[in-house]
Amino acid sequence: MKKDQTIGEVLRERGISRRSFLKFCASTASLMALPPSMIPVIAATLEKARRPSVIWLSFQECTGCTESITRSDSSTLEDLIFNVISLDYHHTLQACAGHFAEHIREQVIKDNAGKYILIVDGSIPVKDGGVYSTIAGMSNEQILKETAAHAAAIVAVGTCSAYGGIPKADPNPTGAVSVSDLIKDKPIVNVPGCPPIPNVITGVLVQFLTFGLPELDALGRPKAFYGQSIHDRCYRRPFYDKGLFADSFDDEGARKGWCLYKLGCKGPTTYNACATEKWNFGTSFPIQAGHPCLGCSEPDFWDAGSFYSALSTPTENIGKTAIYATAGGLLAGAAIGGVLRARKQAAVKAHQRVTIDDLDKES
């Protein structure tokens, strides 16, 4: 693979038609909720972009994020985007190992200082000198700091690198921290999720290559993908609005596909694209499969109480409250109605039979 090729050159070399490329750009634009007028912009920018070097560091993680992105279910173009970003270092995917692998990382840092992108998955253990996770004799913290120092930007993929994730879960035996806890002087884009949606990972990269650093929310997530809550875009939302809930996984409501709020769904407090982008080629997402959202793209989701406890329940006995309120309303209505009825009855009682002699005013 020649280093200085543009993405457009690489695509043509590999026989990717312009049509397929534009289709990819269009789906990416719609994924980011961009107007169609932006499709040619994405295409033009991507075509001309120099393939940036990418170093992917994996720390305390389960490789789920890598699984997610390698099983990218959309068009194979997304894999190609990975090819066209020059992925120079990635534990799971690289062919070489040992000293040779580490040498490549050092070489990339040297050759592309200030230009490469650093992707991190997994949290970094800092307790006890970081002994809980080391690579080639270096602690994760050392590797991160060394690699981050010359990176153009950092993308923290997965909840572990973004917020600490499961390794950080109480009691956090390894003193796991997120990338942003350690690195303060580089732009960091968090792409949380356990794992993040494949298209969202690639989408963030495309957005980054096309438009530069994306607009982020308070938790460092690109607003284009994490701007709305699962709850707001959930197809079961109408049932929530009507107060129709599944009370167990095996009741009438569950079978009818009602809202899973009472079963602990964290959709209302979770910001991610699952409800719209879905998983496995847009097939489904947890709520659609009948399970509440765990809130995996939020910090400390593992410690936010049981996955099966409802976020909050308004009053201890909403049914009773409603009955009392309704009864009160009915009583008040009946009382007012009774007064008015009495008024009308008085008028009926006061009725004097009208005869033909009463019609003439003068008579």
């Binding site: 009308k344 009208v354 019609l359």
Partner: protein, 420 residues
């Protein structure tokens, strides 16, 4: 006297306000669509004729007696209580410029039955002594003589004798146990006696068992037009008594609009019980006979005919298909006027307006709408099924120098029957 009368009228308005009226008045959105539906507004352009405005006295009583804010603003002196002068001011609006045709009720976007409310407003007006002179006279005659036009039994008997002689048939009177008791309107007895001969001939051919009653032949009800339920109930009771005495299966309302509404719709509510007999309009009976193949037509009318739907029979009564079936049976060239049927324009004289001389000029002015409807199809003759419409239409046609003969639908059928 006037003070006492006003109190009685005010009480009557209070008494009339029921759940539908409260719902109607609170849901009015003041869109003014009813104005465009009203003959009296379209032909004068005068906004005071906006239908919902005609019930203003009723609305004020509702607001001040039955709503919180109305009671409050009345107590604080922010809204003036209804006075006798208000009723005087509304007299012409409630009686002269409303035929109770119900066209406004059809267009109301929130479903307010404005005609129903005007009918109720008249209860208060009449009780307070604000009914028009002509209607008072007619109502008094209806009670004392038995007919608003002062027609007595001997007059009917004379017409019966005359008809029997002319067509050589027997007209049954006071025959017990027949299927139908046939009612008449004074207008038919005095102005269009051909109607009696027509039903006699039709029923003879179709072999219908029927009778007239010497005790109750008048179907019209001035009590409803003037707006006095006490009197209206008394008039309906006469018919109920006769029908029960003769043990008939059904009572036939004649070619008259409000008579049908009075007996069929208001009747049971007025007397406070379910009738033991059915009430049908003559057009319903004739169409049923037609459907059963009991009417044999000898020749068909070749003139271009059109049909004026009387409001109480068509729009308010639902008898819309029957007259068309019947006309098509006897006529080759039947054309519809624009807006015919459910949304037909009123002749301008219903709801007691024809009995109220004060309204004559206004009534004839509104005929312009009927003229434009007729001009659109230019018929050779105009058919209708209401003597009141018929009288007024004739007058209007004369006023506007139009040469179109008026036909009664029943008479037209009778004239085209085969003799056998």
């Amino acid at each position: 006297m006037s003070g006492a009368a006003f109190a009685r009228g005010y009480n009557a308005l209070k008494e009339q306000i029921d759940a539908p009226i409260a719902a109607f008045l609170s849901s009015c959105v003041h869109c003014g669509m009813c104005a465009e539906a009203c003959l009296f507004f379209t032909e004068t352009g005068d906004p005071q004729y906006t239908p919902i405005r005609k019930v203003e006295p009723l609305r004020r009583v509702w607001e001040q007696e039955y709503t919180f804010w109305g009671k409050l603003s009345k107590a604080l002196g922010l809204s003036k209580p209804l006075t006798d002068q208000d009723l005087t001011d509304w007299e012409t609006l409630v009686y002269d410029s409303c035929t109770l045709c119900g066209r406004c009720s059809m267009v109301c976007p929130v479903g307010n039955d404005i005609a129903y409310m005007i009918r109720k407003t008249r209860e208060g007006m009449a009780a307070a002594g604000h009914a028009p002179e002509g209607l008072i006279g007619a109502t008094q005659r209806a009670i004392t003589i038995g007919s608003p036009m002062g027609v007595k039994l001997p007059a009917l008997q004379a017409q019966i004798r005359h008809t029997e002689k002319e067509f050589d048939l027997k007209i049954p009177v006071d025959v017990e146990g027949t299927d139908y008791l046939c009612m008449l309107s004074s207008m038919e007895i005095m102005n269009f006696p051909e109607y009696i001969g027509s039903i006699a001939r039709i029923f003879k051919q179709a072999d219908v068992s029927w009778t007239l009653s010497s005790e109750a032949f008048e179907a019209t009800n001035s009590g409803i037009q003037i707006g006095v339920s006490d009197i209206a109930a008394q008039l309906v009771q006469r018919i109920v008594d006769a029908a029960e005495k003769l043990k008939v299966k059904a009572v036939i309302s004649p070619e008259c609009g409000h008579a049908y509404m009075a007996i069929r719709w208001e009747g049971p509510n007025l007397v406070g019980k379910r009738f033991g007999f059915k009430v049908v309009h003559i057009l319903e009976v004739l169409d049923e006979l037609r459907a059963q193949g009991r009417l044999k037509v000898a020749d068909r009318e070749t003139r271009k005919l059109t049909y004026h739907d009387p409001c109480q029979i068509g729009r308010r009564g639902g008898v819309l298909e029957q007259p068309r079936n019947l006309i098509n049976m006897v006529a080759e060239n039947f054309v519809e006027m624009p807006e015919a049927g459910k949304m037909n324009w009123c002749c301008g004289a219903g709801g007691g307006v024809s009995t109220n001389e004060r309204a004559d000029a206004l009534r004839l002015k509104t005929f312009a709408r009927k003229k434009s409807q007729l001009d659109a199809v230019n018929p050779d003759a105009l058919v209708s099924a209401c003597s009141n419409c018929r009288i007024h239409l004739e007058e209007g046609l004369e006023e506007y120098h139009m040469d179109i003969p008026l036909l009664s639908l029943t008479e037209t059928i009778a004239d085209h029957l085969s003799d056998t």
